[in-house]
């Protein structure tokens, strides 16, 4: 246990807390600015098993804040979950890492969350967060809401059955275009770092069984305009549709949208109509006749008509060079199929 000596001599964790950490299992949803910091902290702290779910691949513009990735990962266009797991395995080889290159959503949420002691939010969109909230309330899994944009960020630990849930605090997610995204407002590198470190601290409290010390309520900060506040929100809202009435409309939303514009990117993700494994080798061969194809064991990239289509094994594609879902869907239909 020498590796963990600095936190086992911290009396609030101690040898018992460390044993609990080593025996615990965490699902991290999203491995970008928040997710890389969350994963880094938890793997170093000795969380036994970390499942990392992410749908995206590494790009140069990620490196400003996504601490587990480097220029090689961006050049190779590796999936974020895979690149993160490779780096994390070098940081702590005792941890069981499960990289999952999938789009977290209604169809896989229960499978990815059911065995987790704690779920961590590293997502960059409301669609996924409200699914996280639904599935965690449904299965009774504690989770930590975290988000950052510009110089502003929020953190809120959620323990279903005890604390308010995400919908108690924000009853409805904004519609498309109703709020700024990192696309329109940017993000200051250290801000997701601060927010994710606070969220990771809440996760450690949950994992070692120190619920009485959770920072309950909504903590928000503005690192540029120098404000930090915690708004205590102690009781669930009596008529909350999720945690009181137990209706899970985001989780039950049949499959969600087929094409989603991605935060901070001139890109759209397109999902296949029927999920299934793609034979990437055969597809690469076929597509090399129509454009430039590069591939690695996890994905292939087709450059054609001024767009980059990154196609994953699970049948998804990220179409770069457009923010228009219709254009993206039609490129997908033309080159990957329906």
């Amino acid at each position: 246990m020498d590796r963990y000596s600095r936190q086992t001599i911290f009396p609030e964790i101690g040898p018992d807390g460390q044993r609990r950490l080593l025996g615990s299992r965490v699902t991290l949803v999203g491995c970008g600015a928040l997710g890389t910091v969350l994963a880094n902290v938890l793997v170093r702290a000795g969380v036994g098993t970390l499942r990392i779910v992410d749908r995206d691949y590494v790009e140069l513009s990620n490196l400003q804040r996504q601490i587990l990735f480097d220029e090689d990962d961006a050049r190779d266009g590796l999936p974020k979950a895979t690149a993160a797991a490779t780096k994390l395995a070098r940081i702590n080889s005792e941890i069981l890492l499960e990289p999952i290159v999938e789009d977290f959503g209604p169809d896989n949420a229960e499978r990815l969350v059911h065995d987790a002691d704690v779920v961590l939010d590293g997502t960059d969109n409301f669609e996924a967060r409200y699914v996280v909230n639904d599935v965690c309330v449904k299965l009774g899994r504690p989770w930590v809401y975290a988000a950052a944009i510009g110089s502003y960020g929020v953190v809120m630990p959620i323990v279903p059955g005890e604390t308010p849930c995400l919908r108690c605090v924000f009853p409805q997610p904004p519609g498309a275009g109703a709020v700024d995204t990192c696309d329109t407002a940017g993000v200051l590198g250290p801000v997701p770092g601060v927010i994710a470190n606070l969220a990771a601290t809440e996760a450690i409290k949950l994992l070692v069984g120190a619920r009485e010390h959770l920072a309950l309520g909504l903590l928000w900060l503005d690192a540029w305009y120098n404000t930090i506040q915690r708004t205590p929100i102690t009781a669930p809202v009596v008529d909350c549709p999720t945690c009181q009435q137990r209706t899970f409309e985001f989780l039950d939303g049949a499959g969600g949208r087929r094409a989603t514009t991605l935060c901070g990117r001139d890109a759209v993700q397109v999902r296949p109509t029927r999920p299934g494994e793609l034979a990437l080798d055969a597809l690469a061969e076929r597509l090399s006749a129509v454009g430039t194809v590069r591939s690695n064991p996890h994905l292939l990239r087709l450059t054609v008509e001024g767009h980059d289509l990154t196609i994953f094994r699970d049948g998804r594609a990220i179409v770069k060079g457009t923010g228009d879902p219709t254009v993206a869907r039609s490129l997908y239909a033309r080159y990957v199929g329906t």
Binding site: G30, G32, A33, L34, G35, D121, G122, T123, D124, N125, F126, R129, A146, A147, A148, I149, G150, S151, Y152, G153, V154, V169, F170, P171, Q172, P173, P174, A178, V179, D180, T181, C182, T184, A185, V187, P192, L218, W220, D222, W224, Y225, T227, Q229, T231, P232, I233, C263, G264
Partner: protein, 91 residues
């Protein structure tokens, strides 16, 4: 009443980049009206078509959610601090 309003980063694009404002309003509804008069684009970001506070934006007066006070009728007194806390998505 002179109150201070904190404008979070995600809304500063509609307040000419200003992070903190002062206003002279007796209640939260009046305060929103005053903000909307100065920054017309902020209206739709905070309220829906019926004028109600949007369900992904929270207003706190000295740290208390107005939804659990008297909503837009919540009284303000001199020196109060109003924070606008929208749900944010980035990560």
């Amino acid at each position: 009443m002179t109150v201070r309003i904190r404008i979070p980063a995600p809304l500063r694009s509609v307040t000419d980049g200003q992070a903190e404002l002062t206003a002279h309003s007796d209640n939260v509804g009046q305060l929103l009206g005053e903000l909307e008069a100065r920054f017309p684009q902020i209206g739709p970001r905070l309220r829906d078509e019926d004028g109600a506070l949007r369900r992904f934006v929270n207003l706190y007066v000295n740290g208390e959610d107005v939804r659990f006070l008297r909503g837009l009728d919540t009284d303000l007194k001199a020196g109060d601090e109003v924070s606008i806390i929208p749900a944010v998505a980035g990560g």
